[in-house]
Each structure stands twice: as C-alpha cells, then as structure tokens.
C-alpha cells in the first residue's frame, strides 16, 4: 500500500511525538511506531528532566552547560550542548503548559531534585515516573492535534535516491503487509539499543532498528563505542532503579557495608556521574566485595523514611517488591550496573539534519532526534536527566527544521525496487536452511556483548567478540522462521530485530577496539588514560563488506577547554 505525507516520523517516544506536534503545524504528517505510542520506552525514564529553572537552588544555564561538558568527558560538542541547556527552561515550561503533572514545591513551583553529575538541584520530576507522565502528556497533545499514528508498524528500509531521502518501507505487524510511505521529510526517532546486552534496563523493543536502517542505507553511525551502564539496575533482571533514589539521599553499600563511593568519588559520592559510579560498583564486585561476594551491591534508601520514599519513589518501592522480593522500606535493594543508554547514533547537525560524512554534508529530507541520534550533546557519557531533555529539545528542533525545509524538499523519486527489495530480504530471512532457533543466537550475542564489550574492555576480549559476531551472522543467515503466518507475526519481528542488533553490535565492538584510550563510559583496561592528543574526536563508522570502516570528526569546543575530570 502506498501513502504520501510531507513528513513521516518513525518512533513515538518523547522525541518522535515532540517532533510530531511541531511537524503537524507545517504540513501533512504521520508517525509510524513499532509499539503503541504510550508503550514507548521513554515512559520508563524515572528520575527527572534537567533544566536550570532555579526553583530549589540558584542555577543558570552556564552551570548546567559546564556539568554536561565535564560529564561528557569533553567529547560533547559544546555548541550543541549550549543549545540544549539554554533551551531547557522553556522546554520544561512548555511541557508544563501542555499539562505535564510535575511534582511541586511548597510554593507551587515545579519540584527539582539532585542528580548524578549535576552540581545543583536541577532534575524536574514527577515522583519517579517522570518519563511516563511526559510521554502520556505528549500523546495527549498528539491526539489534540489529530496526529495520524500508524501503531505497530515497523520500519524496514529507508529509501534514499540520488542522495536524498524519499521515504520508508514499513511492515504492518497486525496484517503482515508492507507499506510504502513517500515523504518529503523523514524523521527517525527510534530510540536506543540496550537489548544488545544480557543485563539491560531496556525494553524488549529497544533494538536500534533506526540505526540499522540508516547503516543499511549507507549512512555512518557516530560514537557507537560509548554505551552507558546505569549504576543501579535491579538484581538480577537489570530493570531500572532510578538515580533519583540517590538524588534523594540513597547510599550504595558493598559487602562490608561501606559506602563504596568514598574510594572512587569522595566529593560527589553517590552523585558522581554514571560512568564513574558504574565502574566503582563493578570494581567492587570484581574484587569480591559484592554482597556475600556475589555479583551485586546494595542501594539503601531506608534512612530516607517511609513518607519520603512513598511520596517520591513509589515506583521503586513497587519494583523492588515485585521483581526482587525486597521491601525497600525495611531492606536494602540489590543492584548491579545495567546497559542503559547509547550516547552514539545517527550523526546530525544541531537541527536534526542527518550528516552523511565527516565534512558535515547532510542528506536532504532525512532527520534524526532522541537517543537514536548523535548531535552530540552527551559525548562519552550522558548525565542523568539530559536524555529526556535532549529528546524534547531536539525533537522540537528536528520537527521545526523539517517544516522549514519542506519548501526546498521535493518529492525525491522513490526507488521503484525498494519495496520489492524488502520483500526479498524478508523471504531470505524466513527461509534459512538451518535448524537452530534464532533466540539462541540472540542469547549468545547478548552474553558475548556483556562479557567482552562491557564496563571494562580490552583488546583480547574485543577481538574475540568481533569473531563471535561474525560467526553469529553466519548462524543467523541459516536460522529459520518457524512462524509462517502473516498476522501479527512477532517471531518475524524478533528476527528482524536480531538482524539490527547484529548489524550495529559489530560497529560498537570495532569502535571500542579502535579507540585506544579511556573516556567517559568507554574504559580500556589496556589504555586506562584519556588521550586528547589522538582521541579528542568523534568516530564515524560505515558498514563495509570487510567490516566497519572509520573516519573521524573533531569535537567542537567553544567555552571549556578539556581538563582532568575529578568528582
């Protein structure tokens, strides 16, 4: 089936729906989304969204900017970070005016709490359900503006003709039919890829489909070696326990009952940035100082008192009880670092236009925003609460840029073979000659990424992981689909998702192998120092027949020269 829209948005989390509210004003617009909009993983964000509102502490955007630059281990592009933090207060007020039910101070202002790496109370929150309330509010705004949704549509290919984006081909999951969407502008907002790792805070849907689709269209991915581990994933499942628990005053304790952060970040303690805190916890675990020598430590919030916990951390209380059998009012919560966020992604300029090369040339008609994009405002390590902010600020900018560009964007010729190509791909996926269930291939990928490309990395395991991925690709080529139906074929969906995971995992590992330094979330035990002389630059990676091919882009430094990073 053929559709025509001025703007097609892929993904209905915070970034996609914020872009939709904007794009709706400038022409016809629709949103394709693999899960129903309110099921998007933005809703799982708990702790807050950062802005220097100054409701609880004196604050201004320059402080937010410095914290973010330092948090990024100086790899963030400072012009983009300045845009982000200066836009933040208005973005939050904008969300509030849409009805977002933020928690309040006694004076009736939006409440703000402390958060890792932020030196002021800057995290605007709604208890520990901040992402949830913003996601639902943006969905309500999309209903108000009569945004056309195509829920449970999965994008399979980006149509690029003569260098310009002409639209997308998508699978209607409910019917199994392919749909072609012609568009003048396509905005990718498909989120992250935490499912490449065994222990992950991410939803099953977070398989980086947008990254894979872009890479398959011959576009580069930026800084993919930087994967954030959240320090406090619930043990054993890895689901998120908000940093807000520490923002409210929670402690992290090792097996000896010591506040372990004293050894790693004596000044900021539990409120050090996530890369520092996750490494600290993993070091304690590796050195046998987990609880009972096990693979977890404790997050203790008991001293906050029942009233504060029930008021500000109700979801944590519920999750700890249901998933770990722990009453967090009376017992400490078992936690472990968990794969959480991808700093890297589809390279864009500061208005979401997708960059195609190191010189910054853009792909006409193609935009990206949110976690799937790399502007880069997070550099080598994102601060908590800056991702919801990025999604909202750059979602709006991408939507607005697409609208502004529409008059210049024609209807690029749609490659006639696009839909047939996808059909052929799907047939090939379904008809492998092997007998291995593909779920086993996914397990092996996640296990290997966890073991060989995790918090601590070094050359040997990374090389081993590259081999593993190449072998997994061969096994995947032989894997067979058992569900031959068309109607709501989730096995087919999972298989396409696994193809995505395999696609960019190779880039993540090859990038980590190439970057012979330690910076932010990327830590090489064989190169434990940051190396600004060689590596103060972004990686761009293309998928090549012999594996990923790299180029590099300098970091844009406007205000703060790189310094040693201490917390």
């Amino acid at each position: 089936m053929l559709h025509r829209y001025d703007t097609v948005i892929v993904g209905a989390g915070l970034a996609g729906m914020r872009a939709a509210v904007e794009a709706q004003a400038g022409g016809s617009c629709c949103v394709l989304t693999k899960v129903f909009p309110t099921r998007s993983h933005s809703g799982a964000a708990q702790g807050g969204i950062a802005a220097a509102l100054g409701n609880e502490d004196e604050d201004d955007w320059t402080l937010h900017m410095f914290d973010t630059v330092k948090g990024s281990d100086y790899l963030g592009d400072q012009d983009a970070i300045e845009i982000l933090v200066r836009a933040a207060p208005d973005a939050i007020i904008g969300l509030e005016h849409m009805g977002t039910p933020f928690s309040r101070t006694p004076a009736g202002r939006i409440a703000q709490r402390e958060f890792g790496g932020h030196t002021r109370k800057r995290a605007c929150y709604a208890a520990d359900l901040t992402g949830h309330v913003i996601l639902h509010t943006l969905y309500e705004q999309c209903l108000r503006h009569a945004v056309r949704f195509f829920p449970e549509f999965m994008v399979l290919a980006l149509a690029i003709e003569e260098g310009a984006c002409a639209g997308v081909v998508a699978l209607d999951i409910a019917t199994g039919e392919l749909h072609t969407f012609r568009a003048r502008a396509v905005i990718l907002a498909t989120g992250g890829y935490g499912r490449a790792f065994r222990i992950s805070s991410n939803a099953h849907a977070n398989t980086g489909d947008g990254l894979s689709v872009a890479a398959r269209a011959g576009l580069p991915l930026e800084d993919m070696e930087f994967v954030q581990y959240h320090p406090t994933g619930l043990f054993p499942s890895g689901i998120l326990v908000t940093e807000g628990a520490r923002g409210e005053g929670g402690h992290i304790l090792n097996g000896a009952g010591e506040r372990l952060m004293e050894r790693y970040a004596p000044k900021m303690m539990e409120l050090a940035p996530r890369d520092v805190t996750s490494r600290a916890i993993q070091s304690e675990i590796n050195e046998g100082r987990g609880i009972g020598g096990g693979a977890f430590v404790h997050l203790d919030i008991r001293h906050l008192g029942a009233e504060k916990i029930m008021k500000r951390l109700p979801q944590i209380l519920d999750l700890a009880l249901r998933f770990a059998g722990v009453d967090a009012l009376r017992e400490p919560i078992p936690i472990q670092p968990t794969a959480h966020y991808s700093m890297g992604g589809i390279p864009t300029d500061n208005d979401g236009r997708v960059r195609r090369d190191a010189a910054g040339a853009v792909v006409p008609g193609l935009y990206a925003c949110g976690e799937c994009a790399c502007v880069s405002v997070h550099g080598a390590n994102r601060l908590g609460c800056n991702s919801l902010l990025e999604a909202v600020v750059f979602g709006e900018r991408a939507g607005r840029a697409a609208c502004a560009d529409l008059p210049r964007l024609g209807w690029a010729a749609f490659p006639p073979a696009a839909e047939a190509g996808v059909r052929g791909d799907l047939a090939a996926l379904a008809d492998g000659q092997g007998r291995e269930p593909f779920a086993r291939i996914r397990d092996d990928l996640q296990e290997g990424m966890q073991r060989n490309c995790g918090i601590f990395r070094s050359e040997g395991p990374l090389r081993e992981q590259l081999d593993i991925i190449r072998r997994l690709k061969e096994r995947f080529a032989a894997a067979r689909l058992t569900d031959r139906g068309r109607r709501f074929n989730t096995e087919l969906v999972e298989m396409i998702e696994l193809r995505s995971l395999l696609d960019f995992s190779e880039i993540v590992v090859a990038g980590a192998l190439a970057r012979t330094e330690s910076r932010g979330a990327h830590y090489r035990t064989d190169y434990p120092r940051r190396n600004d002389a060689d590596w103060l630059r972004h990686s761009l990676a293309w998928t090549g027949p012999e594996g990923p091919v790299f180029d590099h882009v300098p970091v844009r430094i406007t205000r703060y020269e790189p310094k040693e990073r201490k917390y």
């Binding site: 309110t38 998007s40 509030e96 006694p106 939803a203 054993p236 999750l319 109607r487």
Partner: protein, 238 residues
C-alpha cells in the same frame, strides 16, 4: 544458581484465524526458577517450544502496559507477576476479555483507545499562560496522583461488565482519564468534561461492580475516580 521451583504447566489460549476459525488451548510444561515472571515463562516457551506463540511485551518493568492479559482469571501484567506467588502449578493464560482477539494473547484495543477520545483527553487552558509554570500546590497535585500513573494497559475496561454489555460505554479507563483532567487544578474544561461523562454511557453506566479496582495492575482504583465524578456531575451539571 537460582533455586528451581519445579515444573509448571501453562495452559494458553491460542487463536490464529489464518489457520483455524476456532480458538484452542495449548499446554506447555516448563521448569521455572525463583524470580521468573509469567512473561519470562511466555518468552521461554516462545523461544524453546513454540515460536508461533504470540503476545505483546516491551518494557518488562510494569510501565508500558503492553503485556496486560488474563492470568488465572485475573487481568494483570505478565511482566510483574512472579510465578512463585501464583497458587498451584497450572497457570491459565488468556487474552484480556472484552476486546476482539487478533491472535493468541494479542487483542485489538481500538475500542479502548477510542473511548479516551470521548472525554476530551488533553489539557485545556483558556485564560492563557504565565511566563513560568502554572502554579499548583502539592496538595492539588496529589489529588490526581493515582490518575496520572495510569499506563493505559486497558485491564480495567476489559474487566467491566457494563463495557462487556455495551461497548459504547465509556468505561473505567477513559473515566479515569477524565478524572485526571477534571480534578487537575490547572485545567479549564471541567464543565465540558463533566457534561461528556454525565451521559448514560458515562459514569451512570457504572454499576459499582468494582471489577476495575481488582483488575488494575497498578492499584489505581478507577472506581473511586468514578465515584468522585458522579458526585461532581450531580453537584455541578444541571
């Protein structure tokens, strides 16, 4: 290693109109260990025993609402229900009742989503905005706390006999959404919304069966919201 809880039997509703017009129940046996949720088991069955088993799931942390289904007779989220806490070793898994089944445990929720549209489901402000946030006291914010935590999983409306009897009934899920705005001190469409829910398909279709209270996996009590709406409708509409 994690402690084994032994073998469990899952009796699962199956329906695939491409293959047969008649639904059936399939039985799967599997070894369950402590800590596994019903969703973990469904995933394991799909991965190892039957790749055609079809269900929705995403966040696996009880916030996205995808995996709402009927488990041992009660609507709940498969992802946050520990198998160890269920009675017995035979677990019946069915789709949410009241909605048309697309395949196996996947239902078509269009009626539920459409019901939201009948309560003006977005924030309305008529008198304009200050430069800063609209002020709201913590107490005023607390009044809507339950309602804003709703994840739109559809479990409540699925359990409502009034909705089963008449799918034009707005149903508890959408009425909770109405409550969320009507009792938001910042919203300025209280009268219009009350009029919308005051009709015979609105709050008065509620016969206080309270299935919705039991069905809500987040413990939100849509029944109390409906009671508050009834009182407001009686007092404030003519």
């Amino acid at each position: 290693m994690t402690e084994s809880l032994g073998k469990y039997t899952f009796r699962i509703f199956r329906y695939d109109p491409e293959r047969s017009a008649r639904p059936r129940r399939d039985t799967f046996e599997m070894e369950v260990s402590r800590g596994m949720t019903v969703l973990d088991c469904l995933q394991a069955i799909k991965a190892e025993q039957d790749g055609t088993l079809t269900f929705r799931r995403s966040c696996r942390s009880a916030i996205c609402g995808s995996c709402a289904m009927n488990i041992n007779g009660k609507n709940d989220l498969a992802c946050h229900l520990q198998v160890a806490l269920l009675r017995g070793r035979r677990i019946a898994v069915e789709p949410l009742p009241g909605y048309p089944v697309i395949r196996d445990l996947v239902v078509c929720m269009d009626e539920f989503y459409d019901s939201l549209m009948r309560v003006l489901p977005w924030f309305v402000r008529k008198t304009g905005f200050p430069d800063r946030e609209l002020p709201q006291s913590p107490a005023d914010r607390d009044r809507i706390d339950n309602a804003v935590n709703c994840i739109l999983c559809g479990s409540c409306t699925s359990s409502c006999p009034s909705f089963w009897y008449n799918n034009r009934s707005i149903g508890p899920g959408a009425l909770l959404k109405a409550f969320r705005f009507i009792f938001d001190s910042r919203d300025e469409a209280r009268g219009e919304r009350l009029a919308l829910v005051d009709g015979r398909d609105g709050v008065w279709r509620c016969r206080t069966v309270y299935n919705c209270e039991e069905a809500c996996p987040k413990g939100l009590r849509p029944n109390e919201a409906i009671a508050a709406l009834k009182i407001a409708a009686l007092k404030e509409t003519v």
